[in-house]
Amino acid sequence: MFRLILKMAWKNSFLRLSRTLLVIIMIAVSMSMMLALQGLYDGMAENMLDKNKRSDSGDITLYAKDYRLNPEIKNSILDAQSIKEDIAKMNGVKAVMMRLNADGLASTARKSSFASIVGIDLAEEEKFGEFSEFLNSGALNFSKRGALVGIELAKTLKLRIGSKVIFSTQDASGEINSIALRVRGIVQTTNIRLDNFAIYVPREKVSSFLALNSTTATQISISSDDETLQKTLQTKYSQLDVKSFFELQPMMQMMQDMMVIFNSITFFIVMLVVFIGILGVMYVSILDRVREFGIMLGIGMRYKYIRLQIILESLIIGFIGFVLGSIFGVLFLYYLGVYGLDLSEFADAMQSFGYETILYATIKLSYFTNTFLAIMMASVLSVLLPLRKIKKLNPVEVIKAQI
């Protein structure tokens, strides 16, 4: 019986071909557009999040207690080297790095700007966040007083590869010190503060420039997926400030939440409109066949089989729309994932707001499972109203009236 009903449902779905095709196209177009948009927005947010983590604070960062309120070198972690080594041995730790930062003035022969000298270890940074991926131009090379400069700072100071820059700041003893550096590379992390102000120099050079011990650092950052690690570290290093990524960057959390809210609202509105579309077609399609249903009831077919047939018709249309939408969606997302959306025309604006000039989409299985469930639900719900009408039918009257 089910096979027969399925066959009837299939045939009836395409009885009015233009009408059915319009609904299928509507579902496919709206679904693929929605998926492309969701993938692009998620891709933007994830990329920003990932790069912010890899370029700076990782999943967890340790600071000296007062450093975040007063980011001065006197608020550094003095035994950072040994703490780092201890943490590296802990379970769940993927990588650890330490940095020594100090704010000051960067000057060229013609321009000056605020800057932060960031003492790093390139090998450590590479393991921690694949630092080489952030290189925009030049080379990761610290030879001959070499330095790497954030892309926005390079723009402000009009720095090019090979340019000379003087960085001045106060050292640990309170004296104003200056260091002459040669730009070897320009980096773009999409972390606004680093791109705007960072001058990366070998950590040991920064330590001696600031008259600090080489074991001193202003931050120790950890890459880890272990959610219990922060608690463990807070207990073990109670003298330090142990913060998670989102505690340090609440804006990122807010941005992620807003993206989820925006995508959910978009999803809801689109699915609601899709529901209205299917409802309209199914309603008219059923009313067109009232006589047919009257005859079926008249010759003894039970209502539940008619109901099943109508639900199957709606599900068939919804499913074909979903399959087509998924194909287009995958194609869109694949294209945007591989080639991205090129906004190089607005490069300055994108970079100043911490975005890359080419935005890449992400693709998640949940996009398709959620949409599948929503479309199937919309398909079933859309026939409830017409079904009520069928249920109330008196077969004899219907057949008479139509004749």
């Binding site: 609904v23 001065e72 000051g104 000056s112 009009k158 689109v270 309209g280 607005f346 300055d348």
Partner: protein, 406 residues
């Protein structure tokens, strides 16, 4: 044809109600969303313009790209005299900006230090209004320094504390002095407040050998919409190839571009909603038409031409769209007007997005009748396009075929 369309609308209530409802939702969404987007962009630009950047600024060519003392404007008086004669220039002020190191007893920090004409500056920027403690500058305030609160915190100083300044004078010689902190300001712009300090122009000129020199001239105009015309007038009056006259659109290009990118994404999101709604309206129209094929066949048989059928469909969709628009427009316009006057406030948003130049917790809308008109125009256009396929579908039937259609 019009009365027939009206009759059809009343007869096919389901289709009519759905079309009106969906058109109403599209129109509301479109007008309100665009107003919010434009309003927040406008507010960001206006806030930035109010803080420090001028509507028009005059620079020596290469000053912005290369920089350095050789690109200072060297005959300021000659230029400003010409500015006084230009229609639309409300006022002007000159600024001498440099970067240097400021040191308190405990800390040192880099700062942008600008010599400003205190009285004129208060008309050109919001730094006087942003005073939070102490006093603003005057032409006679000598070595008084007026500093952003972020920088004050960084240097850990309080009012009347002394600060040592080290920098380079306009002739590239070494410049050093002792300043006294007389006032603290907070504009809300995180970057500006943590990097800027100001000193009276007269005093700074003597220290920096900057008499009759300026980094640039900042110009305020009577009407922001006239900037291009005023810029052209200034260029003509100056007649000097070594100078460049830039409007806020160039001075704040990064922000203008960022707004454009944001708008592109906004319109892409809106397009998704409008396309889905367009499809549904078309489907309802098509379903309605396809169930009336027989009726059209009879009408054609008694002499109704294709043009008349198109007219009929046009009237139907036009009446339904107009009805929805008539309800949606005043409601949407009232919402946008209300929120233009009473912006939505999201506490803490400026703190959260301080790195992005957000200086206010307010999200104002932009009530602009012209924008509302083109928004509504787009909805009309989409609804009118939605009758094309149903019309072509009817046209594909001959009158006899249509009369026999079931």
């Amino acid at each position: 044809m019009f009365s027939l369309a009206l009759k059809n609308i009343l007869f096919y209530k389901g289709r009519s109600i759905t079309t009106v409802l969906l058109t109403f939702v599209s129109a509301m969404l479109f007008v309100v969303y665009v107003s919010m987007m434009d309003g927040s962009h406008k507010s960001m630009l206006e806030n930035s313009l109010k803080i420090y950047t001028g509507a028009i600024e005059i620079y020596k060519k290469e000053y912005r790209d290369v920089g350095g003392n050789e690109y200072l404007i060297k005959d300021v008086e000659k230029i400003t005299k010409k500015l006084e004669l230009i229609n639309g220039v409300k006022s002007y002020t000159t600024r001498y900006e440099t970067y240097g190191l400021l040191s308190s007893k405990e800390n040192s920090s880099a700062s942008m230090i600008a010599g400003v004409e205190a009285l004129k500056e208060s008309e050109h920027s919001s730094i006087q209004k942003a005073l939070v403690s102490g006093k603003y500058l005057s032409d006679l305030s000598g070595n008084c320094l007026y500093m952003g609160d972020g920088l004050v915190k960084k240097l850990k100083i309080s009012l009347n504390d002394e600060l040592a300044f080290v920098g380079a004078a306009s002739d590239d010689s070494f410049a050093a002095d002792i300043f006294k902190l007389c006032g603290i300001f907070k504009t809300g712009s995180f970057g500006f407040d943590s990097t800027s300090s100001f000193v009276s122009r007269d005093y700074f000129d003597a220290l920096m050998y900057a008499d009759n020199k300026a980094s640039y001239i900042n110009i305020k105009v009577d009407n922001l919409e006239d900037v291009e015309r005023i810029k052209a007038d200034i260029q003509k009056a100056l007649n000097d190839d070594t100078l460049e006259v830039l409007t806020w659109k160039t001075l704040m290009k990064t922000m203008v571009d960022a707004m454009e990118v944001d708008s592109i994404f906004g319109y892409i999101s809106l397009a998704l909603f409008l396309i889905v709604i367009f499809f549904v309206i078309m489907i309802y129209g098509f379903v309605n038409i396809s169930s009336r094929i027989k009726e059209f066949g009879v009408l054609e048989s008694i002499g109704l031409s294709n043009t008349n059928i198109l007219k009929l469909l046009f009237y139907e969709i036009f009446i339904l769209t107009s009805l929805a628009i008539l309800i949606a427009t005043p409601i949407a316009a009232s919402i946008t007007y209300y929120y233009t006057q009473n912006p939505i406030i999201i506490e803490g948003i400026s703190e959260m997005y301080k790195d992005y130049g957000i200086v206010s917790d307010e999200i104002p809308f932009d009530f602009n009748p012209f924008t509302i008109i083109w928004n509504i125009g787009v909805i009309y256009l989409l609804n009118l396009i939605s009758i094309i396929y149903p019309y072509l579908y009817i046209k594909s039937f001959s009158p006899i075929e249509a009369s026999h259609h079931v």
